[in-house]
């Protein structure tokens, strides 16, 4: 056990050097690192949100809301399909829980109706199952003329998948625009999106920016009755009452179907109104949108129209003259930041469905810095206590164990840096715990050597036996902890995952440093000092 082949010595040395080199960048500023030669590793450890501050936002697609919205469109499609020539008489068209139903009046037309309605099943091209088409809806026709549309499971799953994808793209465009931090945006499960923004100092703004649907629509304002009257009585067919963003909100009676929507926009920018000097958002339509806008404004000079964002009226100007250039501006008592955010939202486009925050964790930069300081202090004091204790207990061998411990910590940092694993506060706790437990292997070996000496062995043979007898125990003991760490990694999120990672990494480095490296150091010493008696 005390003989080391040349190549083994080389490997041990290389591992230690690699550990030192990969750990080193963490102690220098990014600026100093730039001046280092390119062959040296320069990446630093990734700090978790709890250490550097930032926001963790878990969103879920509001499935029920999406289904409702989709059903409403489907309802309209069914209506127009059945009204096509020759008309098919129907009754009871509406959304019933999880389905859209319609009853065909004349059973002799049922076959024709079925053919037509089957067209509405909306085949989706399935990318997952080799391009095979899947219908979004299942259609169930019963003999008494009742036709029921329900979402097919596969169809809904696929819809959700593409909604998540689209949402991620929209969110990315939005956060790229504010550009202060680089958040990571990931799909989680089938209908969730995780946004992590390390270093984000204003999580509220990020939340507003990410979570807003930002569906912009233009509606004519109905002037046939006042909004107050409509609220009390019944609004005329095809109109709805929408509230404004003012405080207190003002109701507007607007046409239900929008003239134009945000999809027709090509650009939006913040400008300042020349007269009032207030920030406004100016926008430009694409060609089709511009043409539509020009026609509408020509027909409705003198009438008000409403600019609606997510069902709230942000402005309701009167059309003074036909707007043919395809551009316009929204003034809605914005602050500069508010106008800027709206422009960003309009440029990035609307989210395909409503998103709900289901988990939020945001940590201010101050707390993160405090945690790092506390973690550093605790690690140093803990390590110092262990180091002193080992020397008191094992003398020269304690010093060797301490050197191994130092190598161990360096290796943990090196591995974590190389893997770009995230260091969290519980992760630091994991390292401190590892410091405490790492010497366990040394203790096992040393106690074993003491025993072997008491049993009458010579110094060298006691050392030899101590190492080989302790190996099996060290492996058993560490594998059990490793199993717990791996499971923790599987189930944990964020901080807990960080703890599991350092614990697992610590186990591997511990077995190397406390067993292999310690043995190496002792072998070197034995070769030089040729001890006959051990002070252990």
């Amino acid at each position: 056990m005390l003989y080391f082949a040349r190549w083994k010595i080389a490997v041990i040395t290389l591992v230690v050097i690699a550990g030192i080199l990969t750990t080193l960048p963490n102690f220098f500023s990014a600026k100093t690192l730039e001046s280092w030669p390119g062959f040296l590793p320069q990446s630093k450890m990734v700090l978790g949100l709890d250490l550097q501050g930032g926001a963790y936002l878990l969103y879920e697609i509001d499935k029920a809301d999406y289904v409702q919205k989709r059903f409403r469109t489907l309802e309209g499609d069914i209506r127009s399909t059945l009204r096509d020539q020759p008309r098919i008489g129907y009754t009871g068209l509406g959304i019933q829980g999880e389905s859209v139903q319609v009853r065909i009046r004349d059973l002799s037309q049922l076959a024709d109706a079925t053919t037509r309605l089957n067209e509405l099943r909306s085949p989706l091209v399935n990318s997952v199952f080799g391009g095979q088409a899947v219908n979004e809806f299942d259609v169930n026709v019963s003999e008494d003329g009742l036709v029921r549309f329900t979402f097919s499971q596969q169809g809904l799953d696929q819809r959700m998948q593409s909604i998540v994808q689209q949402s991620i793209e929209v969110i990315r465009r939005r956060v790229d625009e504010i550009g202060t931090t680089e958040p990571s945006i990931q799909r989680q499960g089938s209908d969730r999106i995780l946004v992590e923004a390390p270093g984000e100092s204003d999580p509220q703004r990020l939340k507003d920016l990410v979570g807003q649907t930002a569906q912009l629509t233009f509606h004519m304002v109905d002037t046939s009755m006042s909004a107050q009257q409509a609220l009390q009585g019944r609004p005329p067919a095809g109109t709805v009452v929408a509230m404004s963003t003012d405080d207190p909100p003002i109701p507007y009676l607007i046409a239900e179907t929008p003239l134009l929507s945000g999809e027709d926009l090509v650009d939006a920018q913040v400008n300042f109104d020349q007269r009032s000097n207030e920030p406004v958002v100016s926008f430009r339509f694409n060609t089709a949108g511009a043409r539509k806008f020009s026609v509408v404004t020509q027909q409705n000079v003198g009438k008000p129209f409403a600019i609606v964002l997510d069902n709230e009226v942000i402005s309701a100007p009167v059309i003074r003259e036909p707007i043919t250039g395809g551009s316009g501006q929204i003034s809605g008592n914005f602050t500069v930041e508010g106008a800027n955010d709206l422009a960003v939202l309009l440029r990035a486009g609307a989210l395909p469905a409503k998103l709900t925050v289901i988990e939020e964790r945001s940590i201010g930069p101050g707390l993160g810095a405090d945690s790092i300081e506390a973690g550093k202090l605790a690690s140093l004091i803990g390590a110092a206590a262990v180091v002193i204790f080992m020397i008191l207990a094992y003398g020269r061998f304690g010093v060797i164990a301490d050197i191994a411990l130092a190598v161990n910590v360096i290796l943990i940092f090196g591995v974590l840096t190389t893997l770009q694993a995230t260091l969290t506060l519980p992760g630091i706790a994991g390292i401190v715990l590892t410091i405490g437990m790492a010497v366990d292997a040394n203790v096992l070996i040393y106690e074993r050597i003491r025993e072997e000496m008491r049993a009458g062995r010579s110094a060298i043979s006691a050392i030899d036996a101590g190492f080989s007898r302790a190996l099996g125990t060290i492996l058993d003991a560490n594998i059990t902890t490793l199993i717990a760490a791996l499971i923790l990694f599987q189930l944990g999120s964020g901080p807990v995952k960080g703890f599991a990672v350092t614990l697992a990494v610590g186990i591997f480095t511990t077995v190397f440093s406390a067993f292999t490296f310690t043995r190496f150091l002792i072998a070197m010493w034995v070769r030089r000092a040729r001890p006959t008696k051990l002070s252990l």
Partner: protein, 317 residues
């Protein structure tokens, strides 16, 4: 230099005799913990119960009473306000609001509005909705269960079934008592508590495995010795190591408890307690279990399999 010895070299403490005390004690503590768990219950944090936690730093010493009254004006149900770390730091816990995911989000906005921006620095805001908390709770229970089973299989594979069963019962008892501590001290039971429990499982088994390793070795060496004497001797032989390792680990953990900051204090406290319990149980419970399970009754086959495994795992010196 005289080296520090925690335990004299040749102790001959009759641990097996102590099982008459340690077994009933373990059963009482274990059952007591179960009873506490079902009657008083754990003080679940927002990870498992849902709700909102807000940590804020005020300018100058915090007026906890004023904050409490501001919060109660917001009508958010059960709200706890407490000092957290320094005297200008306050932790506010707000129970899960009825009305699903959106209702939780409204809480944060309301609280932000209730305090002047320049007076209070919101250092940490955590909101867990009902759906996520349910999932985290399930994942936590599954995690602890799966790791216990996985480790049991590993020990079964490396040792005999008596060892596996003994190790799992010992560890399970440790987990129970740790949970009992959480109940008694009203510690916040959160995701990091699950991490603490899993680490305790790992550590306690680590300790137990070291003792079992020695027992297995001595079983082969002293074929004639009575099981009770053999277990006593094995524990005495490993006693020095057991206490040494516990002490170094505890030293590190105490440093973390004292200086590691408020956020992980309850995590560290649970760990310190768990390490102490784990050490106790690997001495006073793990080995006596083997007597209970009649380890020696089929000595011969034991030795054969044990030998085979030993050569497979560690090359002889």
């Amino acid at each position: 230099m005289a080296l520090l010895r925690l335990v004299p070299d040749d102790t001959k403490i009759r641990f097996m005799w102590l099982r008459k005390v340690s077994f009933p004690l373990a059963i009482v503590l274990g059952l007591g913990s179960i009873a506490l768990f079902f009657t008083v219950g754990l003080n679940y944090g927002i990870d498992f119960k849902g709700g909102t936690v807000i940590e804020m730093k005020t300018q100058g010493p915090a007026d906890v009473a004023a904050i409490r009254s501001t919060m109660s004006d917001l009508n958010l149900g059960d709200v706890q306000v407490q000092q957290f770390g320094g005297e200008d730091e306050v932790l506010v816990r707000i129970e899960e609001q009825p009305g699903g995911e959106l209702a939780q989000q409204a809480v944060v906005a309301n609280v932000r509005d209730a305090f002047a921006e320049d007076q209070v620095d919101f250092r940490r805001i955590e909101v867990v909705g009902p759906r996520v908390s349910e999932e985290l709770a399930r994942a936590g229970v599954i995690g602890v269960g799966v790791s216990l089973i996985a480790i049991m299989f590993y020990i079964w594979f490396r040792f005999e079934w008596q060892f596996a069963l003994g190790a799992i019962l010992t560890t399970f008892n440790d987990v129970l008592i740790t949970i009992g501590l959480f109940v008694v001290l009203r510690l916040d039971f959160s995701l990091s508590s699950i991490a603490a429990v899993l680490t305790i499982i790992g550590y306690s088994l680590n300790d137990t495995v070291v003792v079992y390793d020695r027992i297995r070795e001595n079983l082969r060496r002293y074929k004639k010795m009575s099981l009770t004497d053999l277990l006593d001797q094995s524990i005495n032989e490993t006693l020095s190591r057991t206490t040494m390792t516990s002490l170094t680990t505890l030293l590190a953990l105490f440093a973390l408890y004292a200086f590691g900051g408020e956020v992980i204090r309850s995590f560290t406290l649970a760990m310190i307690f768990g390490i102490a319990i784990g050490t106790y149980s690997s001495i006073f419970l793990a080995a006596p279990f083997l007597i209970l399970f009649n380890l020696r009754s089929n000595d011969k086959s034991d030795d054969e399999t044990a030998d085979k495994q030993e050569t497979g795992a560690a090359p002889a010196a």
